[in-house]
Amino acid sequence: MNLKPETLQRIDEVITHYPVKRSATLPLLHLVQEDAGWISPAAIEWIARKLELQPINVYEVVTFYPMFRQKPIGRRHVKVCRTLSCALTGGYRVCEQFQREFGCRTGEVSADGEVTIDFVECLASCGTGPVVMIDDDLHERVDAARVKALSDEIRTAAQRRPPAP
């Protein structure tokens, strides 16, 4: 595991929040995923050792919670809310349009490696639907024009990013 020093420091700190180490399973998975982008088999083994657990104890958590992923995804993660209030205001159309914008289906990585689109359950912002989360940021009342604008922003940001070393 090649984690950043800052991640390692946060991992050691968060373990102290609980009287039982196992409780730190979700926090560690979040920290590792934020650092590495996904949860690899090596990460599962590493977390298990860190928390004095069996790998299965960590693995069964990874497979239970939708936010943990066992595969790398695109550099940007677009999550469109699928649940009723958003659907009533156009969530399904928004999801389709994003897929057209990036030429990939939900759960896939776009050809340029830039985005993964997911159709997720309720994001708890039902009054401003349809809502979309791009990475950590919530976007509200997303209509066709907003999908276009958000997609353009993603593409512009990708062009500005320095090439990977």
Binding site: P27, H30, P66, L84, A87, L88, C122, C126, D136, D137
Partner: protein, 453 residues
């Protein structure tokens, strides 16, 4: 009955221009003064105030908060934990989000008063994984409160110490259910525990007595400690005290959050006067009044019976619009106030398609421990999805009902009820639409109709 003005108690500062979520702003608005006064009192007195207030839980079940606190096992010698349920996972609900993002110190103050009242030394805020900014805001606010000696060691110079940590979920609805939440906080799959014996008040987190309360409930505690339980009962109506935040979504002109005294506004006033009524050219068709698990109401139906007003029993004959928005009235007409999430559907909506959407949610979110829930939720989803995208049959309505009826009462947690009530109520109230769907689904849809599944 005229439409009452909003009564903003919990949302007093939400969306207020210039109000920020840092401790400086909170202190300028009198923040933590209530806590200082509360810490000068005996913990039992504070519990008594909450009991007197009649405060009912805002997370879904409406269980009296004071009663919950008296059920806590205080003789075991084990530490008592408090968990703030900030999972906000019931579809249609989006109130805790604004408290967390815009007024986090109100939650921290209410939490600390509740911890002090119950001799809690460690609290956790379990926040849904999809609110990363919310988690960071809470962490920052807690650190500010620690720096001011409102949280942590020797609070306010007393020998009472209590810390709060934020714990993030990871996208599973069942973590909102309190025992699933506890399992999740212990680092496991969020498989709910069976009650008895695992009542959190006795065998909760790490098998210790544990209080689980919703974010909004704990904010109300702050106001109860402020004005006193007796004065708090003057807000709202008997047995439905305080304010309620209604989260209105779907097909109204002005969706959003609105805080009113509990029971002082009717559903019709809320949807027509406050939310501006249906969209132009449309009519209301159905409303789910308390989060997506609550049983649906059909516009045009009537509710009749006897109800208690003061000491007397009086007849009532209500349309959907006449129902007062409080726990007891909504329960009386066969649905529930739940989490306060009001989802509105107009006449562009096919009820079969709306139910298919809801069923897809529940089948995705079942934890899978109980066969009736795991299989039943999946079958209900498959049947309704097939009706929309494959072949629909006249007998599907009866089939759906047959599946739904076998779930409630046969599962470990209340998700079993939550996933079957939508199907049961949609079929009971819109049965014809389900029976005729095979014939009608090819006909032209209203222009406003959107895909729901």
């Amino acid at each position: 009955m005229p439409v009452p003005p909003q009564r903003r108690l919990i949302f007093a500062h939400v969306d207020e221009p210039g109000y920020t979520n840092d401790i400086g702003c909170y202190l300028r608005h009198g923040g933590y003064e209530v806590m200082k006064r509360a810490f000068a009192r005996k913990p039992e007195e504070l519990i008594d105030e909450v009991k007197k207030s009649g405060l009912r839980g805002r997370g879904g079940a409406g269980f009296p908060c004071g009663v919950k606190w008296t059920l806590v096992d205080r003789k075991s010698g084990k530490p008592i934990y408090l968990i703030v349920n900030a999972d906000e996972s019931e579809p249609g609900t989006f109130k805790d989000r604004y408290i967390i993002h815009q007024d986090p110190h109100q939650l921290i103050e209410g939490t600390m008063i509740s911890c002090f009242a119950n001799n809690v030394r460690q609290a956790y805020i379990y926040i849904r994984g999809e609110m990363p900014h919310g988690a960071r805001i809470l962490e920052k606010a807690i650190q500010e409160a620690r720096d001011h000696h409102f949280v942590g060691k020797n609070i306010l110079g007393t020998n009472y110490s209590c810390d709060i940590f934020v714990h993030r979920g990871a996208g599973a609805y069942i973590c909102g259910e309190e025992t699933g939440l506890i399992e999740s906080l212990e680092g496991k799959r969020a498989n709910p525990r069976i009650k008895p014996p695992y009542f959190p008040a006795v065998l909760g987190l790490y098998q210790c007595p544990t209080i689980v309360n919703n974010v909004e409930t704990l904010c109300h505690v702050k106001h109860i400690a402020d004005i006193g339980g007796e004065a708090y009962t003057k807000i709202g109506t008997p047995n439905n005290t305080g304010t309620r935040i209604f989260c209105v979504s779907g097909h109204v002109q002005r969706p959003g959050y609105y805080e009113f005294e509990c029971g002082k506004i009717t559903l019709g006033q809320l949807l027509n006067d406050v939310c501006g009524g249906p969209r132009p050219g449309r009519k209301f068709k159905a409303v789910i009044p308390g989060g997506s698990s609550a049983k649906v109401m059909r516009f045009g139906e009537r509710y009749k019976g006897k109800r208690k007003v003061g000491a007397e029993m009086v007849d009532y004959d209500w349309g959907v619009e006449d129902v007062p928005m409080d726990f007891d009235s909504l329960a009386m007409i066969g649905t529930m106030g739940g989490s306060g999430g009001v989802i509105v559907m107009d006449d562009s909506v096919s009820m079969v398609e709306a139910l298919a959407n809801i069923n897809a949610f529940y089948s995705h979110e079942s934890c899978g421990q109980c066969t009736p829930c795991r299989e039943g939720s999946l079958w209900m989803k498959k049947i309704t999805t097939r009706m929309v995208h494959g072949t629909a049959r006249a007998e599907d309505a009866a089939l759906l009902k047959g599946v739904a009826d076998q779930i409630p009462g046969r599962t470990i947690c209340a998700f079993g009820e939550a996933c079957s009530w939508p199907t049961q109520s949609f079929i009971a109230k819109f049965g014809d639409e389900f029976k005729d769907y095979h014939a009608t689904r090819q006909s032209a849809k209203p222009e406003a109709a959107l895909p729901l599944i």
